[in-house]
Symmetry: C2
Subunit: 387 residues, 2 copies
Amino acid sequence: METYLRKRKVLMIPGPTEVSFSVLAAMSRPVMAHYGPEWTPIITETTDMLKKVFQTRNDVFIMPGSGTLSMEASVVSLFERGDKVLSIVSGFFGKRFRDLAFSHGAKVIEHRVTFGEPIEPDAVDRKLAQEKDVKAITVIHNETSSGTVAPIKQLGEVARKHDALLIVDSISSLGGVDLRTDEWNVDVNASASQKCIGVPPGLSLIAVGERAWESMKKRKSPIPGIYMNLSMWREAAKKAGSPVTTPSSLILGLRASLIEILEEGLENRFRRHALAGRAVREGVKAMGLQLFATKEEYASNTVTVIKTPRGIDDAKLREVMSERHGIMIGGGLGELEGKTFRIGHMANTASRTYIIPTISALESTLSGLGFKLEAGKAVAAVHKTFE
Amino acid sequence: METYLRKRKVLMIPGPTEVSFSVLAAMSRPVMAHYGPEWTPIITETTDMLKKVFQTRNDVFIMPGSGTLSMEASVVSLFERGDKVLSIVSGFFGKRFRDLAFSHGAKVIEHRVTFGEPIEPDAVDRKLAQEKDVKAITVIHNETSSGTVAPIKQLGEVARKHDALLIVDSISSLGGVDLRTDEWNVDVNASASQKCIGVPPGLSLIAVGERAWESMKKRKSPIPGIYMNLSMWREAAKKAGSPVTTPSSLILGLRASLIEILEEGLENRFRRHALAGRAVREGVKAMGLQLFATKEEYASNTVTVIKTPRGIDDAKLREVMSERHGIMIGGGLGELEGKTFRIGHMANTASRTYIIPTISALESTLSGLGFKLEAGKAVAAVHKTFE
């Protein structure tokens, strides 16, 4: 029954990712209650550290859930039937945000960007001028499906200009790519534990700014329910509490990871992820593969999306990577299934230790599947990038 | 920074509870992806074991969340605006179910039972006959705030008679008190990981039967959103998947606990909790304290709610228990705050090892606070019950 551990693969998928021993150790301690005098300093300290990572002085909540919860909680708490929402869609998760807004009754205007292409803030500006009365923009900071990054700073300026809220999904970027919640006018920043934060899945992380609270106060109908009701979370947090039972063991893991993140320093961490992203891209290009992102300056530093080369079966590629090399990489999502495959490099895996063997295994696998390449060239390119 | 562990208390609160070393060990293993060929046998095996604990052959889902999530997901998935729902309220959590149904647009009829009193199925029967067209009944199996148990079997018969769905919250009873989901006509059984299941908080567990699926199919409007949309969970589960990222580490902990639960055997486990409940009640009565439950045959076997004796400050009582004896017990909830205090005895703590020191500490604490009692009598009563 316990053989599964021997079969476990190294996670070079775009999350969940490999977590530190200190995180695992923290989670393996006896369970603590999620309230009371022993817990209060822990949750307070953890929330304060998380605020630094979110780069915000506003409210931050740690909810029991996945990244989708933080997206859906922002939709449920902010949007009422008929509210106009501009959803920027540049991949699978942009669609998810759009679908959530639509499903909860918003009047959704889709701003479609060809997957792999960068988002143009000017085009969003024009769309907002044309539509008028748009209450909020939803956008994915780091689109894990297409491997591209959104220009949040510029979108924040555009949102302010049109008096629209900016709701950002930073699930696969928080703690790995610079995202200045307050400075860049991000009103809600929705994230999760299992990517660049380096904690197992199970925690939904969300930052909510003053303009978002003001907007909630102006609602005509009350926010439905408890679980996703951000105003209840705010109320309970005033006494270091929560409206529902929170996952204390995972939060101890988060605390351990945040200590490491702040010890490393955000700037250093962003630099490390940038280097890791460049190294993977150099390796991929040296193999003769093509990035899915059309402009490398908008390519993600936490996940690289690669076009599946002609004649290669993407499922077979991933199977050999996993079975022969013990490394799990990701397949394409949604309409990119089969056409792309993905390598995650986030938190601990954004390092030479993980990337060199991954690129080496990819070279070997592709070569074995009949793809023509010059053996060792990609690994050399990665090595050189790290030197 | 790491001193908090020395300050950790033994959890004799009504959840979260003390978990087994095997659970902690499972959670401290390197993270696994929540999909793929390594994960599929694990989630399949875990779900199958969980079905046995739920005593169901129908669908069971493991969602990232707290107990409130499983309650709210059943409300969101089943109720449409104007649906008539009978909410049985015999404590704080019955109110929560009522509020969730109301908040999501149901027309809620409250069936109020004096807290501490048993629920009378005949009275529910009469209410249903009088109201007509009630779509569903919500009820808490084990009301953690008042320490009473609902007669689910009889309520299941009443629900069937009136063609109403029966939605049960078994958050603090699943795995500790007999609850035959299928046999007793429970259409949705909403639970969580951190009580009698013996896993840290963070997993919402839910069983959904055929009548509930049929009801969802007849909805006029689609179920809103993704996170709480049970039909999406069902669809994804067909391929051993989930609509959102699931907490793989906590699920490995759940798997470890379910192995232990099934090794112990459900019948043995229910008997152990029944004995633990009786032992605590005997101890409490021997101290001259009063149970909040008016009829002992309806008293909970997983949490004992005790009336705070006159002249005793409940907060002070809990503080001394915690600071001097290292044992955390619970305060009263909602309108019972101050008037009651609570001892949890669930999963591992439903045992002599945990109960004897708790009752000993309670004797000592109450005595120190000026409450007149005969020293050692309560501990002797507990000991005798276990012999």
